[in-house]
């Protein structure tokens, strides 16, 4: 009577399949590491944007409009840690009276895992000050 069992070839093939699927799951760890590096970059970018925002907020409504008439590039110390960073200041007037300007800072860069990333922060500046 012939016993039913796996042949050596079957066992080898099964082993190879399992090994390949395990190696595939290794990419999960890489994703985890990439995520950590994205988180770190995000903080670097946030601080770099805040640095520029600090400079802009020190100036007056009129000075902001004079200094950034069109989309203007900016550069801060924090950019040194990023790959090909491009920072742009844009102004717009979301309210009809043009007494409130919205300042948007947008920073795009290449992440360590070669993706193009963008982050922006915005603030409002009023011509007369709050309640003015």
């Amino acid at each position: 009577m012939r016993k039913k069992a796996f042949t050596l070839i079957e066992v080898l093939i099964a082993t190879v399949v399992i090994v390949i699927s395990l190696l595939g799951s290794l990419s999960l760890f890489n994703q985890g590491t990439a995520l950590v590096s994205n988180i770190k970059e995000d903080s670097v970018v946030t601080y770099a944007l805040q640095e520029q925002m600090e400079l802009i907020r020190r100036t007056s409504f009129d000075a902001i409009i004079t200094n950034y008439p069109v989309a203007t590039n900016f550069n801060t110390a924090g950019f040194a840690a990023l790959i090909s960073p491009v920072g742009i200041v844009t102004l717009d007037y979301p309210f009809a009276n043009n007494q409130i300007v919205r300042v948007t800072l947008r920073l795009s860069w290449q992440s360590a895992n070669n993706r193009t990333m963008t982050k922006s922060i915005a603030t409002y500046v009023t011509k007369g000050g709050i309640g003015g």
């Binding site: 399992i18 395990l22 950590v36 988180i39 770190k40 670097v44 601080y47 600090e54 400079l55």
Partner: protein, 186 residues
């Protein structure tokens, strides 16, 4: 008859092949396990280092926003702290019991490195005046700080903090943050 009956079992070769396959399999699983463990240790340590670095940065940013200016130096319980590239002595408006600013009274807040510990020293009335209710303190707010650098610009103070830690015997985790803040009470 006993002899004629075939006893079923494994041959030596079969057992050896089975052992070899199992070993290879176990080896691969161990490799995956070790790299998973290493990735976990180094990723979580990297996040810890990053969190500590951000915490240190946020403390400094908050105190600079409160401050009205830097002062060249201040002496707190016998130790003199001098503002420079690695040390910052801030003059912060004094506060009364309800937390409101007292005119003409200024406390000192110092950031300095003590070895690789980032310390924050607070001394009420140390810059000028008296009667401030801010509590005196001397805390370590971050460990493993490798570099603390200030740039005293005309418009703001630039800050760079680097935290560094070694995990898994040789993997160096380094985290650097840079920003600049202006005084709000100038």
């Amino acid at each position: 008859m006993r002899k004629s009956k075939k006893i079923s079992g494994f041959t030596l070769v079969e057992v050896l092949v089975a052992v070899a396959i199992t070993s290879i399999f176990a080896g691969v699983i161990t490799g995956v396990f070790i790299s998973a463990r290493n990735a976990f240790i180094s990723n979580s340590a990297a996040l810890e280092v990053h969190g500590a670095n951000r915490l240190a940065m946020d403390w400094i940013v908050r105190d600079i926003k409160w401050a009205n200016q830097t002062v060249p130096s201040v002496t707190i319980s016998g130790t003199t702290y001098t503002t420079g590239i690695n040390r910052l002595v801030l003059s912060v408006p004094g506060i009364d019991a309800s937390g409101d600013i007292i005119e003409g009274v200024f406390d000192a807040v110092v950031y300095a490195l003590n070895g690789t510990d980032l310390i924050r020293v607070v001394s009420p009335n140390a810059v000028s005046g008296s009667g401030s209710n801010r509590l005196a303190s001397n805390y370590t707010i971050a460990n493993n700080v490798n570099m603390l650098q200030f740039a005293l610009n005309a418009d703001n103070i630039g800050i760079t903090v680097n935290t560094r830690r070694t995990v898994l015997n040789s993997r160096v985790l380094s985290d650097t943050l840079t920003t600049a803040v202006s005084f709000r009470n100038e």
